[in-house]
């Protein structure tokens, strides 16, 4: 099986500080890849390079086997790499529908749409409803509810629905359960499962070991600017992973 997304020898320096040191990463179709690493290990820089927030000094990124370059998250998005940011990037005072289509609005057909540039609200609402229910987020009372009236986990749902709606090839999720309680985190983990079942691979960055071990198929351990190892959560304990991350233990050569 060919990987969907490959990062090869990515390097990035900020002045004298080395953030990425020939880092590699592979993401295979249909999997959830957990990415863990201590603070300062460079995992956030790696993720930023993959989602377009940071331009690496050297190295290459391959999407579906082809080399790609992008200089902004928007460009990455047009290529199919979607990111669910830690702060969700949702507009609280706008409705769920508005947020789903922010920047990608659908215009009405014909004169109203072409000349007056009127939006097709009904179409957007219908599609929004469909997206949410596709992910198992059923029975929204009001698709035009304002996002700020939703709880943290519900907002995650909307953000994830937005990220998986538009021809996505890869979803990157940055600390999705960091700000959530137990129940809400449950829902998000289920969401991750739903997305995977739609065939979209996910890169999951998280500090929460139990969550990572629960949903990830493979776990990429990042240390000192580069990949240390990739482990199978079924074969290792959480404590092993933490030990690898911090350097307390050396992983077996693989």
């Amino acid at each position: 099986m060919e990987p969907v997304l490959v990062a090869k020898n990515l390097s990035k320096k900020y002045g004298k500080v080395v953030a990425l040191d020939n880092a590699n990463l592979e993401l295979y179709p249909g999997e959830v890849l957990g990415v863990i690493g201590d603070n300062g290990a460079g995992k956030s820089t790696l993720i930023k390079a993959l989602c377009g927030a940071v331009i690496p000094d050297s190295g290459e990124i391959l999407l579906d086997g082809e080399k790609v370059t992008f200089t902004s998250p928007i460009e990455a998005r047009t290529l199919g790499i979607e990111t669910v940011y830690q702060n969700l990037a949702l507009s609280p005072a706008l409705s769920i529908t508005d947020n789903m289509f922010l920047g990608r609005e659908i215009r009405q057909k014909g004169f109203m749409g072409k000349f007056l540039r009127f939006l097709d609200k009904k179409e957007m609402a219908d599609q929004a409803r469909k997206r949410l229910s596709d992910l198992g987020l059923l029975t929204i009372q009001n698709i035009n509810q304002l996002v700020e009236t939703l709880s943290g986990g519900q907002r995650q749902g909307v953000a994830v629905a937005r990220a998986t709606s538009f021809g996505t090839k890869v979803v990157i999720m940055d600390e999705p359960t960091a700000a959530l309680g137990v129940k809400e985190s449950r829902r998000v983990l289920e969401l991750i499962g739903e997305v995977r079942s739609k065939g979209i691979p996910i890169i999951l960055i998280s500090h929460n070991m139990p969550h990572v071990f629960e949903v990830a198929d493979r776990i990429h351990v990042h240390r000192l600017g580069t990949r240390l190892c990739v482990i199978d959560p079924k074969k290792y304990e959480m404590s092993d992973a933490v030990a690898f991350m911090t350097g307390a233990k050396q992983p077996p050569a693989n």
Binding site: L90, P92, L102
Partner: protein
């Protein structure tokens, strides 16, 4: 992989129900239902979704109240329509101001921009002999240019709009004094050389109500802006930028470009107001509307638009302007000293902002 899903499902069955679930449905793990609500909470939610209702209610109540206090002199068709005439210019400025405030900005230079545009229109057509329509066009361009100037300073220099427009207010105003020497262009000269400038001041009598064409134009501007803000992507982006600029940026909205266009559109609206103002005042008066900047902000705030951005309707500002006019007229006819008009205005502002803050507190 299956093991994980099984584990999760098992966990879920053992968990207590999620917050917000009313009913006993095992499968409904993903509903977005809200909890039980008291009547006050229901009201709060309702107002949250329909913020314009508040100024409408205040307007209706105040008209009725002043009808009682000040009697028939206030409540006559003539006076009520006169109030609309009196707030027309500030109303148009408030429409422009709403656009800016929705982006979490503020424009302290709107009235100065307007007077500057009217000076161009007047000077070129009356004193320099240019045909009226091109002179008006140049006034419009002046409005767009001064607006875009504000927008560029805000986006390029990354200065708060308050500070930028504080500076440009003084700059534009100084230009006005420079071009005119503080002298007005008198009404009779305009009537002789460029009567078109007075167009929006023409009145029509509709069964006792006397409206100016300018008042209809003002309403037209509000309706146009309402469509723009609610029915087009551009309008949605205005709200998005004011609500959370970073989120908007990440959604692919080019916020800097949008902001310049928003300020430019506001400038255009202001320039239309300039033309209308010549009809209202009669002359091109460089010292008039000195308090127009703050008056426009007052109307927007009382109309329910939040100064923090992202929230509010442009129609609300129309009601805000009308409320100010009603209080001003009503208190005057009731025989109260002018300073009470100011006092009442101050109270209205604080009440309006207080209600806005309360409505914002809605969250699960």
């Amino acid at each position: 992989m299956n093991k994980i899903s099984d584990d999760i499902s098992k966990d879920l069955k053992d968990q207590p129900k999620f917050s917000g679930d009313i009913g006993d449905k095992d499968q409904d793990h993903h509903t977005f239902e809200l909890g039980e609500q008291t009547p006050l909470k229901k009201l709060q939610h309702f107002l949250h979704g329909n913020p314009t209702i508040v100024p409408v209610i205040i307007l209706v109540l105040s008209v009725i109240a002043f009808g009682f206090i000040a009697g028939g002199k206030f409540f006559s068709a003539f006076n009520l329509s006169l109030i609309v005439q009196q707030v027309t210019i500030v109303g148009i400025l408030a429409a422009a101001q709403t656009l800016i405030i929705l982006t979490a900005g503020i424009d302290l230079s709107v009235a100065a921009m307007m007077v500057l545009a009217s000076v161009f229109m007047g000077k070129l057509s009356v004193e320099m002999g240019m045909p009226t329509l091109p002179a008006i066009l140049i006034g419009m361009i002046s409005g767009v240019a001064t607006g875009a100037f504000n927008g560029l300073l805000v986006t390029r220099l990354r200065l708060p709009p308050f500070i930028v427009t504080l500076g440009t207010w003084n700059i534009f105003f100084a230009l006005v004094i420079f071009f005119t020497g503080s002298q007005s262009i008198r009404s009779s000269d305009i009537e002789t050389n460029a009567p078109l400038l007075h167009f929006w001041g023409e009145r029509i009598n509709l069964g006792g109500f006397v409206f100016t064409y300018g008042a209809f134009l003002m309403i037209g501007i509000f309706i146009f802006l309402w469509f723009l803000l609610n029915k087009t992507a551009w309008g949605r982006h205005v709200y998005a930028i004011g609500d959370d600029k970073d989120a908007a940026e990440l959604s692919g909205i080019r916020t800097d470009r949008m902001l310049v266009s928003i300020y430019a559109v506001a400038g255009l609206v202001v320039a239309i107001g300039a033309w209308v103002s010549i009809g209202r005042v009669g002359s091109v008066s460089p010292t008039s509307f000195y308090e127009g900047n703050l008056d426009s902000i007052t109307a927007v705030v009382i109309g329910g638009t939040s100064l923090f951005g992202g929230r509010g309707t442009v129609i609300g500002s129309l009601f805000g302007a009308l409320i100010v006019g009603v209080f001003s007229s009503g208190l005057s006819i009731a025989g109260l000293d002018v300073l009470w008009q100011r006092f009442a205005l101050g109270c209205l502002i604080i009440i309006a902002v207080g209600i806005d803050q309360w409505i914002r507190k809605v969250s699960t």
